[in-house]
């Protein structure tokens, strides 16, 4: 009796709470809303002095609500409010033809092409190095320290050198950026694939030996498939790193085009809204790319009979 009486009011809210969409998106939505709230408060606090100075310079009387309103609509705020960023983002994505240098789509495409080329180069290099390391002790001893060293020099210091050197031998535009991107992203792939290629069980390797399989057969039929989970884990890390590499590479090129160029131009002219909308574009690009790798991973997993 009591239980049914209690169950009646609970059922409507309970059903909503257990709805798959709610279960899936409620936690994310909560975090997003909390971050937005914090962002708004921070925007008000950070821009307050700026707005107050402006009012006082012009000797106009102001109220607290004028101040708060001002902090969220300043043209060059220290920290733009979320709606300003979104408005600028929407405007620069949909407001111009995708080929216009004012369009964020144009810049994102430039960065994306450098990222994808760099990722492809980096993946090939990473896998090739891992193969060499796995198959030869000598190469492992001689290559590995250099591979690790390569990642200890900050890319911000290396990128201009790359651009200058590659420019001197006649390489401009897409390729130097892709090379910097590849330089950054091959590393997790090498490390992951060394682990992956050595993942097979000793028994499985012994089996291949009892069938006197050639090294190439061992690679194709055992090491490569066994390395798949490691490949996708490292590809996910690598693709976001190659995006960062491409953006960093756009900084010393003088900022002709690309998300990096937008960031640089924005900081030259104090266009914080532009910087933030470029960052938003980079974030969306990165999550899209990681999502694509995840999708490829799922498809490969299905073909390889992974447990559902």
């Amino acid at each position: 009796m009591t239980s049914s009486a209690l169950a009646v009011p609970a059922s409507a809210a309970g059903r909503l709470r257990h709805h798959p969409l709610v279960v899936r998106y409620l936690p994310i939505a909560t975090i997003v809303l909390a971050l937005m709230a914090i962002w708004y408060v921070a925007a008000v606090l950070m821009n307050l002095a700026l707005v107050r100075d402006a009012f006082e310079r012009e000797d106009t009387p102001y109220t607290v609500s004028d101040l708060v309103e001002g902090t969220m609509s300043a043209e060059r705020p220290l920290l733009p409010a979320p709606h300003q960023v979104i408005a600028a983002f929407v405007d620069s994505v949909f407001g111009y033809a995708p080929t216009s240098p004012r369009s964020l789509v144009y810049h994102a495409t430039v960065t994306l092409s450098a990222t994808l080329l760099g990722f492809a180069l980096g993946a090939m290099l990473g896998i090739a190095l891992a193969l060499m390391i796995v198959h030869s002790r000598v190469l492992e001893k001689s290559l590995l320290p250099w591979i690790i060293c390569s990642q200890m020099v900050p890319i911000l210091a290396l990128a201009p050198i790359f651009i200058v050197v590659l420019g001197a031998i006649g390489l401009h535009g897409l390729l130097p950026k892709s090379i910097i991107s590849a330089y950054l992203c091959f590393f997790p792939i090498t490390i992951g694939m060394v682990k992956g290629f050595t993942a097979p069980d000793p028994m499985q390797l012994d089996l291949m030996r009892t069938w006197s399989a050639t090294p190439r057969q061992v690679l194709a039929k055992l090491r490569w498939p066994a390395a798949m989970p490691y490949l996708f884990a490292s590809l996910k890390v690598a693709i976001s790193i190659s995006l960062i590499g491409a953006i960093v590479a756009e900084l010393p090129t003088g900022g002709e085009a690309g998300i990096g160029a937008r960031l640089l131009a924005g900081s030259y002219y104090g266009q914080t809204v532009q910087i933030w909308s470029a960052l938003l574009a980079a974030a969306i690009l990165a999550s899209g790319l990681i999502g694509l790798v995840g999708l490829a991973e799922r498809l490969v997993g299905l073909r390889m009979g992974a447990r559902p």
């Binding site: 089996l207 069938w211 006197s212 009979g305």
Partner: protein, 274 residues
């Protein structure tokens, strides 16, 4: 020199050709704690068509023995011939099938494709691969599981697949390293019976490592009792049950007598430690 030894050993008790001829083989591992004698001066002749079990406590070198015959490990001293040629040559000519303690199936391949794996490696034609996969899955009673993945099968079924895989390229010699060690008693009995029928039907030579006395006595034509530190053979027991034996023979006095002799041998080997 080997030739003459073979001849004398062969003509005395074994009229058939030797499948395995191990002569004074020793194997010493270098470990952090010093040298370990995994095998010390071991000699053994196995004729074609025999079913020989190796039994003994862990560390007695029974697995090492099998691995040496399979050329997965090289002896530090002594010589051995497999089907009349060196162990390495026999491996390169794919003259034996090896079954490990675990099924070691490739999880990304279906059962059928797991069975085809050695055939792919050895370059059998597509149609031949298909025929053989069908035939050997039927042999281990797994018809209908072709498209399943290993994780969808029980441990016993997986081990049957791995036996079928070892047989699929029709090697004359079958090396089995505690293939049923991880399975429960009921499944083990069932697989033992199946293995015996298989051996009877195919006429292969089987070398079988186990640490179960009833299993060894039930399956074998000869039982090799081994002892650790250093790994050596302390007794070789003939086991003269008919080839088409059934599980019921385990209740007979002859069976118990042989089991008793194995047990005594194992105990004698152990007292060495104490």
């Amino acid at each position: 020199m080997n030739k003459t030894l073979n001849a004398t050993a062969g003509s005395a008790s074994l009229p058939r050709r030797l499948a395995v001829d191990v002569h004074n083989v020793s194997l010493t591992f270098e470990t952090a704690d010093g040298k370990v004698d995994a095998l010390s001066n071991v000699s053994l002749q196995v004729a074609e068509g025999e079913f020989v079990s190796f039994i003994g406590p862990s560390g007695c070198g029974k697995t090492t023995m099998l691995r040496v015959i399979a050329d997965l490990q090289q002896p530090s001293a002594g010589s051995l011939l497999v089907n009349g040629i060196s162990a390495e040559q026999a491996r390169l000519e794919r003259q034996y099938g090896y079954v490990f303690q675990a099924p070691a199936l490739f999880p990304w391949r279906t059962i059928e494709n797991n069975l085809k794996l050695p055939l792919e490696i050895m370059g059998f034609s597509d149609s031949e691969q298909r025929q053989r996969a069908e035939r050997y899955l039927a042999l281990v009673n797994l018809t209908g599981f072709e498209r399943k993945y290993p994780w969808q099968l029980s441990g016993g079924m997986q081990q049957r697949v791995s036996i079928a895989r070892a047989l699929s390229f029709d090697p004359a010699l079958l090396l089995m390293d505690e293939p049923f060690g991880a399975l429960d008693e009921i499944v083990r009995d069932h697989l033992n019976e199946q293995l015996l029928q298989l051996w009877d039907k195919t006429g292969k030579t089987v070398l079988f490592v186990t640490h179960s006395i009833p299993e060894a006595v039930f399956l074998s034509t000869r039982i090799v009792v081994m002892s650790p530190r250093p790994g050596r053979i302390i007794d070789v027991i003939d086991c003269g049950f008919p080839r088409d034996r059934t599980l019921e023979i385990r209740e007979t006095p002859e069976f118990l007598k042989i089991a008793q002799r194995v047990r005594v041998g194992l105990r004698a080997g152990h007292s060495y430690d104490e």
